[in-house]
Amino acid sequence: MAQIDGAGRSTREVNAAIRRLIAEGSTDITVLNPGARHNLAVAILDEVRIRLAGSAGYYCGGLGDGASIEVEGSAGWGLAESMLSGTIRVHGNAGSGAAAALRNGTVVVHGDAAARLGVSMKGGEVVVAGNCGYMAGFMAQKGTLIVCGDAGEAFADSMYTTVCYVGGNIASLGTDAVLSPMDPGESERLEATLNAHLPAALRCTKPAAADFKKVVAGRKLWNFDKREWRIWQEAL
C-alpha cells in the first residue's frame, strides 16, 4: 500500500503524487493529513482504491471514472460532482451539492448531506444514511437517490425518471414530486442496496426498506401544455 503525507504539501502536489503512484502501478493509496483541502483525487480515471485519512474539501472525487474513494472524515461542497463511475464513501457528513450531476457509480454518506444533494443527477446511486437538506434531487434525470433519515424542503423538485426513497420524514415535496407505492419486489431490491452499501452496524439503526417512502416525478412538467399554465407559474 502506497502512502502520501498531505501535511505541508499543496493540493496540486498531493494530486500529482496520487497520479504518479498510479502510473507506477499502485492500486491502493492512502493520503494522510488531507486537511480538508479542495479538489482532492479529482478526475482519477483508473480503478484504484484511494483512502483519505481525514476530511476533504470541495469537489472531492469529482469527474472520476472508476476509482474507489474512501473519505474518513467529512466532505465539502460538490462531492463526486459529475462522477462517471466508481465509488465514493464518506464516513462523516457531506456539504451542499453532493453527487450533483452524477453520471454513474455510487456515492455513500454515513452522516448527513447538506443542501442540493444529487441535483441534476443523470444516473448512479446515492445513499445517505442520515438526513439531507433543502432541494435534494432537483431536476434529477436518472438513477436512484436514497435517504435513510429525514429529507429537507422542496424534495425531488422538477425531476425526470430518478427514483427517490426516504426512510424518515419529508419536510415538503417539491413541484411535481409525488409519493408512489413500491412495485412488487422493489422493497427487497432496496433492502439489498442498503445492505450492500451501509456497514451492518449503521444499517441496523435505519428503517426497514418496506417502510421507506418512494418519491417519483408526477410527470406534469414533462410536456408543456398551455392549459396547465398555473403549474408552470409555480414551478418557475
Binding site: G35, R37, S74, G76, G92, G95, D112, A115, G133, G152
Partner: protein, 301 residues
C-alpha cells in the same frame, strides 16, 4: 466569495489565544477574499469600563486630529490611549447611553468613526489580506473567550477600512457581525432605518445586518428570535455570524446559498466558510458538518 470564521470557548475562562486561532482560520480563507480582513475579538472585561476603537481618519489621521479625538474622549473618562495606524484605542467610563460619546467623537470629522465599543469587544480591520492584520495589529497576542473574523472579496461597494468587516451593531455595545452573501432588500431596509434617524457609514449591504440585529436586541428580543427574524425579513443570500459579550451565533438563509460549516466539542465551537480553515487552525479529532438552510445555532456562556 468572502470567508467568515468564528471561535467560541465553551469553558469560559476567557484566556484562549483567540487572536491566533482566528488568524489561523482566516489565513486558510485568504484566497476567498484578499481585499480586506478584520476581526472582532472579545477579551477580558474590566469592571465599569468600556473599550473603544476609533478610526481617527481615512489616512490614519493627523497628529492634530488625534489630539482632538483624545480631548473629546477625555470628557468621558478616557485613558490608556494607544494609536495603531488609523485606530485610536482607549478605555472609558461605562455608561448606558453611548449616544453623547459617539456624537461627540464623530462630530470632529466626517471620516472619524467609532468602530467598536464594548466591555469586551474590540474590532480591528483593514485593507489587505489577513496576514497584514498580524503585521499591523499583532492580533496573535490577543487573549479572550471568543471572536469572529472576515476576509473580503468586494462585489458591490468600495474597498476601504470602513467598508471592511466585521461590523459593529453601531451604538449597541459588544455586538458584532460578519456576513458572507448579498442582501437584496438592503436599500429598502436601509431607508427604513434612516427614516428613524439611523446613520449609515458605508454602502456595504452587510452593515444593515448589524443595524438590524442591534435594533432587535434593543427592543428586548432574544438573540435567537432576532436571528429567526433575519430569515423572514432579509432577502438574498447570507451565512452570517453574530457575536455578543456572552454568545456566538450563526444563521443561514432559506436557500442555503452560501457555505458555512461548524464543529462543536465539549470545549469549543468553531465555524467557518470552509472546513480547511477549522482543520488548519485547530488540531485534534472532531466532526464537522455543513449548516442546513434556515439553520441557526446560538451558544451562550
Amino acid at each position: 466569495m468572502c470567508g467568515i470564521v468564528g471561535y467560541f470557548d465553551k469553558v469560559g475562562a476567557a484566556n484562549q489565544p483567540i487572536g491566533k486561532i482566528l488568524l489561523g482560520m482566516l489565513d486558510a480563507l485568504a484566497c476567498r477574499g484578499p481585499d480586506s480582513a478584520g476581526v472582532a475579538l472579545f477579551g477580558i472585561p474590566r469592571p465599569n469600563q468600556l473599550v473603544a476603537q476609533v478610526k481617527v481618519g481615512d489616512n490614519g489621521g493627523s497628529t492634530q486630529r488625534t489630539l482632538e479625538v483624545k480631548t473629546a474622549a477625555q470628557r468621558f473618562g478616557a485613558q490608556e490611549f494607544a494609536q495603531n495606524g488609523a485606530y485610536l484605542r482607549f478605555t472609558f467610563r461605562e455608561d448606558d447611553d453611548l449616544e453623547p460619546f459617539i456624537s461627540s467623537i464623530e462630530s470632529i470629522g466626517a471620516d472619524v468613526e467609532v468602530v467598536s465599543v464594548g466591555r469586551r469587544l474590540e474590532i480591528v480591520k483593514q485593507v489587505g489580506s489577513p496576514s497584514r492584520l498580524e503585521q499591523s495589529f499583532g492580533i496573535s497576542r490577543f487573549y479572550g473567550g471568543h471572536g469572529i473574523g472576515h476576509t473580503r472579496l468586494s462585489t458591490e461597494s468600495v474597498v476601504d477600512l470602513s467598508h471592511s468587516q466585521p461590523f459593529w451593531g453601531h451604538g449597541y455595545p459588544d455586538l458584532a457581525i460578519v456576513h458572507n452573501g448579498h442582501i437584496t432588500n438592503y436599500h429598502q431596509l436601509r431607508r427604513r432605518y434612516q427614516e428613524h434617524g439611523v446613520r449609515f457609514y458605508t454602502e456595504n449591504d452587510s452593515e444593515v445586518i448589524a443595524i438590524f440585529v442591534a435594533d432587535k436586541l434593543r427592543q428586548g428580543i432574544t438573540l435567537r428570535a432576532a436571528l429567526e427574524s433575519m430569515i423572514t425579513e432579509l432577502d438574498g443570500s447570507f451565512s452570517c455570524l453574530v457575536a455578543t459579550d456572552s454568545a456566538l451565533a450563526f444563521v443561514k438563509d432559506r436557500f442555503s446559498f452560501k457555505p458555512l460549516l461548524y464543529t462543536e466539542t465539549a470545549g469549543f465551537v468553531a465555524v467557518a466558510t470552509e472546513e480547511i480553515a477549522i482543520r488548519g487552525a485547530i488540531l485534534g479529532e472532531y466532526d464537522v458538518r455543513e449548516a442546513q438552510a434556515k439553520e441557526m445555532q446560538v451558544w451562550h456562556r
